[in-house]
Amino acid sequence: MEKNEILVDVKDLKTYFFTDDGVVKAVDGANFTIKRGEVLGLVGESGCGKSVASLSIMRLIDKPGKIVGGEVIFKGENLLKKTEEGIRKIRGSEIAMIFQEPMTSLNPVFTIGNQIMEAILLHQDLSEEEAKKRVIELLNLVGIPEPERRFAQYPHELSGGMRQRAMIAMAISCNPDLLISDEATTALDVTIQAQILELMKDLQKKIGMAVLFITHDLALVAEMANNIAVTYTGKIVEYSDARSIFKNPKHPYTYGLLRSVPNLLSEETKVELPAIEGMVPSPYHMSQGCHFNPRCPFATEICRKEMPELNELEPHHLVRCFHPVQAAKEVV
């Protein structure tokens, strides 16, 4: 397993939703790559197409949504060209996913153990007994106390944090190469959030899987990610390693996001926290030119006319902007 091998290469991915009110371009030409063992953070406000992008990788887009273009190259194969049967073999075994709501992502009528076992039995050639042993191992690994007893319990008997641990156990049960974490800690309270994050970091190192870490919480990506892609209205607007994004944000949107995070260490504690003006535009009424222009303090004539390309401004630092923020100070 070569360390620098590219595991996932998403090329120009387009996922549109065809609703009665018009076409919503939830993901509109996304490009990113994830190497083996890498953690890529996908950041953006609500409704920026982060979840849709991740579901598109798994081909879990339901009507009226449709993947209309692009490629998802996973280990050299285009997932979008695979048969239903083929993609099902990859789901859960090579690419796994953790969802936002631990309270509802487990089926209430099955025991925790049986649900995790299903993933194992579907993808691995194990007997029920071996699978059960493996489940108890996994429950141990994700830090669920008394795994033998928990195995036979139903989801309603577990707390939110425990359920999310169970979901993680299910996700890593087949040693996936890629784990997609879709706002996996958002629904948990802060102390549990920290534990789950710690657990994910730990497992990521142990198993060596790559993680696509989707969140709207900048502090979380700072903790987790090697690289960060910032999305806005279905397009990636800035893409670089975590350090550059935080030290040197180029896109006015990233800059605004980072400035709007409260800084406890700052001296100017009484200063009002700057927010980005306005709201994410309605997907039905997207502005001409750069989609961010109505909210952008640096917008000029050209921004209202043309959509800028994603340019490599500095080595490995891609920005979609005509007027990138110049030499911004360290903002966080």
Partner: protein, 297 residues
């Protein structure tokens, strides 16, 4: 770990209940359901085992007119009917027929409705539209006038009645199951199941069906009472179970001529139907309360 540990401590010592274990526990505390349950046991035991103890033919008609419409006596504890047949025997055999029809019809129509509802809800789109329009059409047909026509085509008998009740009784269950499946499809665990590579058919039968069981069981229980009433109505109109075979429904039909002179003939089957249906409804209500998902914990 602090929060989870306290939770952990709390749950220690407490027994762990599965969903069905919990339902059963709650059901035992539901007094109406338990009354219904025990009444049903008594009724079913009497009806099933009664004829083995009371070995009198329900169809044999004595010669002559002396034995007709007798009052209760040692030889005939419930008296005799207009042909001199023993009413207790007819009552016991009739109960078997009525409860058999109720069970068979309710279970089959729920089964049929569940299959249709599951299919419609799961596949959605055109399949759903076609099946649900079929439900609407079936619901809009007035049943009793049609029964007369059907009786002349199919003939009259136990199986025909069951068929008729099923054909006109599955629609509510189809709608019920479809609605549950539609809401299950939006649950995150469906997505989670797909994300670990579970096939659609497996999701439908292994993941959804157990979640639909609760409303199905309630519907079946309440449906049995309904089907018994239905059988009685059809038989009362003369299109149902035909003499000499007895059912509680046709005993009522025959009794209507003597309602002013020999009231007991009405009371036996009437009270039996009343109690049986009431018991099934008590039990259905209790089950519905016990399986209420809002009381999950």
């Amino acid at each position: 770990m602090a929060n989870e540990l306290t939770l952990e401590e709390k749950s220690k010592g407490k027994e762990s209940y599965s969903y069905w274990g919990l339902v059963f526990k709650r059901l035992r505390k539901h007094s109406m359901a338990m009354i219904g349950f025990f009444m049903l046991i008594i009724i079913i035991v009497v009806v099933v085992l009664g004829p083995l103890v009371w070995r009198v033919s329900p169809t044999q008609q004595p010669e002559g007119m002396e034995d007709i419409l007798l009052s209760p006596s040692a030889a005939h504890p419930f008296g005799t009917d207009e042909y001199g047949r023993d009413i207790l025997a007819r009552f016991l055999y009739g109960g078997r027929v009525s409860i058999f029809i109720g069970l068979m019809a309710a279970i089959s129509s729920v089964f049929f409705g569940a299959v249709i509802g599951l299919t419609a809800g799961f596949f959605g789109g055109k399949i759903d539209a076609v099946l649900m329009r079929l439900v609407d059409i079936m619901l809009s047909i007035p049943i009793f006038p049609l029964l007369i026509a059907l009786a002349s085509v199919l003939g009259k008998g136990v199986w025909q009645i069951i068929l008729v009740i099923v054909v006109f009784g599955w629609m509510g269950d189809a709608r019920l199951v479809r609605s549950v499946v539609l809401s299950l499809k939006e649950e995150e665990f469906s997505e989670a199941a797909k994300a670990i590579g579970v096939s659609p058919l497996r999701i439908m039968f292994i993941h959804y069906l157990p979640n639909v069981m609760a409303p199905i069981i309630v519907s079946t229980t309440l449906g049995i009472g309904g089907a018994i009433i239905y059988e009685a109505s059809i038989s009362f109109l003369g299109f149902g179970v035909q003499a000499p075979l007895a059912s509680w429904g046709n005993m009522l039909q025959h009794a209507q001529d003597y309602i002013f002179t020999h009231q007991l003939l009405v009371w036996y089957p009437g009270i039996a139907i009343f109690l049986t249906v009431l018991s099934f409804n008590f039990m259905g209500d209790g089950l519905r309360d016990a399986m209420d998902p809002r009381l999950y914990r």
